[in-house]
Amino acid sequence: MLRNPQLNAKGELQHLLSVEGLPRELLVQILDTAESFAGVTERDIKKVPLLRGKSVFNLFFEGSTRTRTTFEIAAKRLSADVINLNVAVSSTSKGESLLDTVANLSAMQADIFVVRHGSSGAPYLIARHVKPHEHVINAGDGRHAHPTQGLLDLFTIRHYKKDFSRLTVAVVGDVLHSRVARSLIHGLTTLGAPEVRVIGPQTLIPAGAAALGVRVCHSMKEGLKDADVVVMLRLQNERMSGTLLPSAQEFNKHYGLTADKLALAKADAIVMHPGPMNRGVEIDSNVADGPHSVILPQVTFGIAVRMAVMSMVAGGG
């Protein structure tokens, strides 16, 4: 059997490329470690010396403010040096290949590469070519995976709901284009959530969704009933070819989260969104800013989760 490219020979995290394929114990270890780091982020001095002298290169071939910033904050709180590269407008546009870019940064003595790329699998390609002491963290690749977002979603759910074993989680919207949904669903099934539902129009649900172990619903009425957790996905305008949806208004009418639709879920349900939100499209403002919303805590937890992942991959010999 091929060794999982994310793990070293001892079964420890070497790279974080996808939530898929991570054993349950390792997922729990990441969440527990993040819990300890959440304590650090509540102190006056929000810094620990773990990654002193190490360099983290943020390699974003695709734009993202929130993810890049929270990785940067996480690395700085671990005392690493952070170098941000807006590769989209530099080397690549001059024709340098992905692996040449990485080889050059490696020559500048990188320890961790945080990679966001429009093509699925790009972080895997890099992970196969880096030196043994270099680590790759996938910060979103194409439609494939966004593991740190998936992990912070799991962390948020565990924070508010404690235990996965009795949860009904509804993931709503553009599942087809969502690497966030994919990472979260793998994590939820690994951690034993008994019911994961995906809700959306037929055109935005991937054909193989049922094979992931989820229940596919095409109406909010069916999908939100008695849900403990409602995860809204961003309608990815920039990824839509235009033929999948009649209009954003039409989408909002059927699948936008309004207070009325949220009332179908459990009274203590939490509402999550990976951001950035399209208010009035997939989520109404009074829900996004309402008492069920944990959208901003998700961002804060994202820092602790990224600290956990970076310190777990970079430690040891």
Binding site: D32, E35, G39, V40, I45, P49, S311, G315, G316, G317
Partner: protein, 166 residues
Amino acid sequence: MAALPDAEALCAALAAALAPRIGPTSAMIGIHTGGAWVAERLHAALGMREPLGFLDIAFYRDDYDRKGLARDPKRSKIPFDVAGKDLLLVDDVLYTGRTVRAAINELFDYGRPASISLVVLAERDGRQLPICAQHAGARIEVAAGMRLRLKRSEQGRLSLELERVA
């Protein structure tokens, strides 16, 4: 080899020795995991004003580059302001001194205490840093290749044990 002293009796004797030194600015912090057990005993016996604090030094260890992060770090919790406090830092066994070094570094990221005193249930030879305990329950000879550890039974009883280093 002489029998190891009873850990519960050592806790009681330590508490008695510390009692005259507890003042209005005193506060106690236990180092996970063994030090936290001892600190729970002492804190209860001494009736201190501030709640007990806990430190997990996983993020301050000096062997991270060799060994990586501990598998199950606990969350450090210090439920009082350390600034100006006379801190009693509690651990189970003082050996190389590296854990205490890490704990002191972490404490200073919470604030500037007035003082820190080290309280340990037992100390043994093998210091690698200029660190000593102000209060030690016992001094125990440990043969090469052996490790002195504090254990807690399911009933919550503490005991010292010698085990072979793997």
